[in-house]
């Protein structure tokens, strides 16, 4: 995918170091469209018709699958080169376990995220 992208000269050349506010604005507009379409079209469509059962049954597993994939990417995959590093971020692994336990106990989003941030901060400083 990255190879295809580098053939698009304008877009591939715009990286954060060179990005100015206009690039950011373009990104925000595209991001807003990408965020808007999945929210709007199904809602518009299904507020007039019934939702097919199989679609619902399948989509039920999409969020949990995607969130896990993203967590795994954050903790076990290097950002440069996409290598698998099982113990590359021990601090994040321990903090992740703490977040899971806190969520399990409290079911509070704010508490879970804040305790995760504190844990990863403390572990990064002391490990």
């Amino acid at each position: 995918m990255e190879n295809i992208l580098s053939n698009i000269p304008v877009l591939a050349g715009t990286v954060v170091n060179k990005m100015d506010s206009w690039d950011h604005l373009v990104l925000i507009i595209l991001a807003a469209i990408a965020a808007f379409i999945p929210r709007y079209l199904p809602m518009l469509f299904f507020s007039k018709r019934e939702i097919p059962e199989w679609f619902n049954e399948w989509m039920k597993y999409v969020p949990v699958s995607l969130f896990t994939a993203l967590v795994v990417k954050g903790i076990f995959i290097t950002t440069a080169g996409y290598h698998f590093v099982p113990l590359g971020h021990v601090n994040q692994i321990i903090a992740a376990i703490i977040v899971i336990v806190i969520t399990y106990m409290t079911r509070s989003m704010a508490l879970s995220v804040i305790s995760g941030l504190i844990a990863v901060f403390v572990l990064t400083v002391f490990l």
């Binding site: 995918m1 992208l5 580098s6 877009l11 591939a12 715009t14 990286v15 954060v16 990005m19 950011h24 604005l25 925000i28 507009i29 595209l30 991001a31 807003a32 990408a34 965020a35 379409i37 999945p38 929210r39 709007y40 199904p42 809602m43 518009l44 469509f45 299904f46 507020s47 939702i51 679609f55 399948w58 989509m59 039920k60 999409v62 969020p63 949990v64 699958s65 995607l66 969130f67 896990t68 994939a69 993203l70 967590v71 795994v72 954050g74 995959i77 996409y82 992740a96 899971i100 969520t103 106990m105 079911r107 989003m109 704010a110 879970s112 995220v113 995760g116 941030l117 990863v120 901060f121």
Partner: protein, 273 residues
Amino acid sequence: MTLITDSFIGGTFLKREEPNWLAVLKISMPLCLSYIPIGLACGILLHAAGFNFFMTLLVSVVVFSGGAQFLIASLLTINAPIISVVITLFFLELRYALLGSSLSRYLKGQSQHFIWLFSVSLNDENYAVNYLKFATDKTWTPRQALMVEHYSLLSWSVSNLIGSLIGSALTIDLEIVDFALTALFLYMIVMQIRNRLTLLISLLSGVLAIAFMVWTKSTLGLVLSTLVASFIGFMIEARIRKSKANISEHWLFRKVRGPAATRKTIEDKSTES
């Protein structure tokens, strides 16, 4: 929902209607408060990724998704091209197709303009509040649901703006703030795991994500693992539903309960009745 409170006026108790905006604000309050720390972290991170305060405010209003904004910030800091960021974002936001369609039955008969307005500021958390209200409270109206969305949007964007402004005054280890994204997703995973099959699919998706990302060397691996894992979950459930009359008796559908799982969800009610 009865909005009547007793007040002591002129020596007698009078039934007084609480104004609508205040009643809805009270319902939105826990959500608005929990957005503050996450919004601040998001603003700080977007500032570090190079967004000025106006861009941060703009993105928090038009995208209005914690996960998506954290993703924008972390992909920008690793110099990902715009197109790559937008494609990853699109797949991240695809889950709203599910959330939107599950709310749509309560929005039947609303105008096109209302549907547009409602979907623009839909997100995970205000969806959860509204879905629960619609399902449990017969008097809950689409207008009130929209108001919940707008209160949460206000709280979120102001927190982002403040985060962006204090971000320039602070020097922060990015890896630490970036973990807010991981923590947010972990929270959402734990909240979604209701039975053993969901847990199994979650683990499967994690393994597949590693395999596909190492193989494709890109975030395309995220999309592939999501599609494959969710489809396997769908197939397993369909197979079990065919062979068993009551799926909650199957070992894969045993509930995973947390000590704080006091909030009854719609799924719980539909399987119990």
